[in-house]
C-alpha cells in the first residue's frame, strides 16, 4: 500500500507551478509539503485528491492510476482542506455523523460522541455549529480524523485557527495515525513529533519551473 507520484506537472491558468515532481509515500510515513505562498501546495493537494487534473505525470495508489480506480482510492483517502465542510445549521454531532457516513464508514454514535469529547467539544455536541467559534468549528471538522479509518490522510493547513491545546492534540492524533501504519501529507510549518515512523520533506520551490512563469517577463 503506497502512493507513488511520478513526473507530475501542474499548471494553473497559464502559470506552470511545478514539474518533474517525484515522491513515494509508504505506510508509517509523514510527508510535509513546503514552499512559499503561490508555489502550488494547494494545487498539488487537490491533484492528489483527484479534484484537479495534472498536465502530465502519474499518481499511483497501490500501483494503479487513481483516476482509473477512483472508488478504491477515495475509500482510502481522507482529505481536509481550508474549508471545514460543516453546516452552520446542523449541530456538531449531526455534522460529524453526516460527514462520517458519507465517507463510507460505519455509524456508531458513541464513537462519534467520544471523538467530540476528545477534541474538546464536550457539552457543545447539540449546538448549531454557527454559534461556535472559528477554532471550535475547526475542531468539529478535525473530529472526523479521530473516527476515520482511512490509511491516507491529506490535510491542507490543518493547524490553522487552533489554540495551543488543540494543536498538541492534533499532533498526537496524526502521530498515532502514523504509528498504526497510516500515511499523511500535510502542508504546514508546524512540526509534528513522531514516536515512530519517518518524516519526508518536499519543498515545491525546488520543483518550480522558471520558463512557465509569467513574472519572468
Amino acid at each position: 500500500m503506497s502512493l507513488i507520484v511520478s513526473d507530475l506537472q501542474c499548471t494553473r491558468g497559464n502559470r506552470q507551478l511545478f514539474s518533474e515532481l517525484n515522491f513515494q509515500l509508504s505506510p508509517k510515513q509523514l510527508l510535509f509539503l513546503e514552499g512559499k505562498n503561490g508555489s502550488g501546495k494547494t494545487t498539488l493537494i487537490r491533484t492528489l485528491c483527484g479534484l484537479f487534473i495534472a498536465d502530465k505525470g502519474n499518481i499511483l495508489w497501490q500501483n494503479q492510476p487513481i483516476e482509473e480506480h477512483l472508488e478504491v482510492y477515495r475509500k482510502a483517502l481522507f482529505y481536509l482542506g481550508h474549508l471545514n465542510a460543516i453546516k452552520g445549521d446542523l449541530s456538531a454531532l449531526e455534522n460529524l455523523r453526516f460527514n462520517h457516513l458519507m465517507s463510507g464508514q460505519k455509524n456508531n454514535d458513541d464513537d462519534l460522541l467520544d471523538a467530540l469529547e476528545r477534541i474538546g467539544l464536550f457539552g457543545y455536541e447539540d449546538f448549531p455549529t454557527r454559534e461556535l467559534s472559528q477554532g471550535q468549528k475547526r475542531r468539529v471538522a478535525l473530529a472526523r480524523l479521530i473516527v476515520n479509518k482511512s490509511p491516507l490522510w491529506i490535510l491542507d493547513e490543518p493547524f490553522v485557527a487552533l489554540d495551543v491545546a488543540a494543536v498538541e492534540l492534533l499532533q498526537q492524533i496524526i502521530s498515532q495515525h502514523i504509528e498504526v501504519g497510516g500515511m499523511a501529507i500535510l502542508t504546514t510549518h508546524q512540526a509534528v513529533p513522531l514516536t515512530e515512523g519517518e518524516v519526508q520533506h518536499i519543498n515545491l520551490d525546488d520543483f518550480a519551473t522558471k520558463s512557465g512563469r509569467v513574472t519572468d517577463a
Binding site: 474549508l83 465542510a85 445549521d89 449531526e94
Partner: protein
Amino acid sequence: MLNTFWMILKRDLKLALRRRSEVFTVLFFFIIVVSLFPLGVGFNEKMLQEIAPGVAWIAALLASMLALERLFANDYVDGTLEQMLLTPQPLSILVFAKMTAHWLLTGLPLVLVAPVVGVLYHLEAETVITMMLMLLLGTPVLSMIGAIGAALTLGLRGGGVLISLLILPLYIPVLVYGSGAIAESRLQSGNIEPHILLLSAFLLLSLIFSPWATASALKISLE
C-alpha cells in the same frame, strides 16, 4: 447507494426546515406574481380564465428559478460539496438526491397552492385539477434542468443572472405543453392526453440525463 440518496435528501430537508424562510420565499413569490396579474390587467372573468394557464406556469418557472442558485452554492462555499465529490459514492446519486430535495421544497409546494390560482382566476374545479397534474409532472423537470445550469455557473460572478439566461430557454417546452394542457382542458372537445404524454417524456428524459450532466458540470466547476 439508496442509503446515500436518503442521507443527502434527509440532510437537505433538515437544513431547509431549520431555515424555513428560504422555502417560503419561493412560495410567496409564486403567489404574489400570480396575484399581480388580475390587478394589472383587470378583473374581467373571461380574460382571467384565458390567461390563467400561462400566468401560472410563468410564475412557476420564475419561482423555481429563484432557489436554483442556492442549490449547490451553499455547499460549495462551506466546502461540503468538495467533500461530497471525494466520497466513494457515485456523484450522480448525490446530485439526484439534491435535485429531489429541491423539488420537494420548491416544486411540490407550488402544486399544492395551485388551487389559489384557481380561486383568483375563476377557474373550474376540473381545470384546477389539470393544472395540479401538469405542475406535478412539469416542476420536477424544472428542478432537474435547472440543476445543470446551477452546476455550470457555480462559483462564477453574477452566476444568478447567467443561470436565468442559460436555463429559461430550456424551460420553454415545459411551459408550452404545461400551459397548453390547462388551456385545452377548458375546451369541450379538449384532449389533454398528448400533453400529459409529452410532459411525461420530458420528465423521463431529464431523469435519465440531468443527474449525469449535472455531475459532469460539477466536476468541471470544482476543478
